[in-house]
């Protein structure tokens, strides 16, 4: 059976320093929910942006995305990749990176402006996905 993989980026509405505790809460809730729904993937938080990759059943991802879109802790959500996969890359769902790194933020930021040309934004999305797989998942290839 095929798996769906969705990657989105968004702008954070949280402010420092309360953001650390809010992100902890968010991760605790998401981890439980995603485990129940057999969703795998990873979340990144850079103090200004979020990026999340979700892998799982197509309909389940639709439902979860509906609630994610309505979450007031972020805005300007852009889905940058949505594709079918033979198998999952992530063994579970994790917080891959949470911190102030400019480098990590640079992997996300270009994807938020719609103005960039499609080829460039596809490359940027592939780069971000590779980063998240490398950081949290199994970069070598899909897991069984």
């Amino acid at each position: 059976m095929g798996i769906r993989c969705l990657l989105y980026v968004s702008e954070s509405c949280l402010s420092w320093p309360e953001d650390a505790a809010e992100v902890d809460d968010l991760v605790a809730v998401a981890r439980r929910r995603n485990e129940q729904l057999s969703l795998t993937g990873a979340l990144i938080y850079t103090r200004t942006h979020f990026a999340q990759v979700l892998e799982g059943d197509k309909a389940v991802i639709d439902t979860v995305m509906e609630s994610i879109r309505a979450d007031p802790r972020h805005r300007n959500l852009v889905v940058v990749a949505d594709e079918a996969l033979e198998a999952r890359y992530f063994p579970n769902w994790t917080m891959a990176y949470s911190g102030p790194s400019f480098y990590v933020d640079r992997q996300i930021r270009p994807l938020l402006s719609q103005a960039t040309d499609p080829a460039r934004s596809r490359r940027a999305a592939a780069g971000l996905l590779a980063f998240m797989r490398e950081y949290a998942g199994s970069p070598g290839g899909p897991t069984r």
Binding site: P100, S101, F102, Y103, V104, R106, F131, E134, Y135, P139
Partner: protein, 214 residues
Amino acid sequence: MSRTENAFSPAPSAAAGRLAYVIDDDRDMRVSLRMLLQEDEIDARPFLSAPDFLDALGELKPGPILLDVRMPVMDGIALLEALAEREIRWPVIMMTGHAEVPLAVKAMKLGAIDFLEKPFPHAELSALMARAFEMLDAQAEEGGLAEARERLERLTPRERQILAAVAKGHSNKEIAQELDLSHRTVEMHRARMMRRLGTRRLSDVIALVSSAAL
């Protein structure tokens, strides 16, 4: 020895001697970083290679490290590994032309705080340096605390009792009465306690007790 200073004297002010280490085999890069850092009132100590830096490490005080990824003999990743082995947790900022994903992830997992991709804007370097010095201050505070605790653990229970009374501002005479000891015995315990703590000044003892959060 810098640990002792942390425990007993106020932290040096930010303006006084902020120093960063620049490790890059490219001379132009070392020179331009030195100028950029100078504008932020940070002195740069340059090293031509990772082994040069490791050789000097024993004499260096904690400071942020600006580290080039690609260098002959020993590259930036290898130095990160060497620092991790030595349990050196000074903030490291990696510098490279283009950070390939696996390399960046490896460096960050080894503890690098960020990646500067050349050419980088001065503002980004300044912000990273500010973040690095904040981290060092937090580490120094942690270290000072651990040092103070360690020293207090050398005291005997009786000496600790006397220390607590001294910190409250009680005189030897008052302490003698409280603990039902002779004035002479209190003086003796107190002198030994001060010796064990490695100080002669009462203000240091009080600073030590409060920094150990007793």
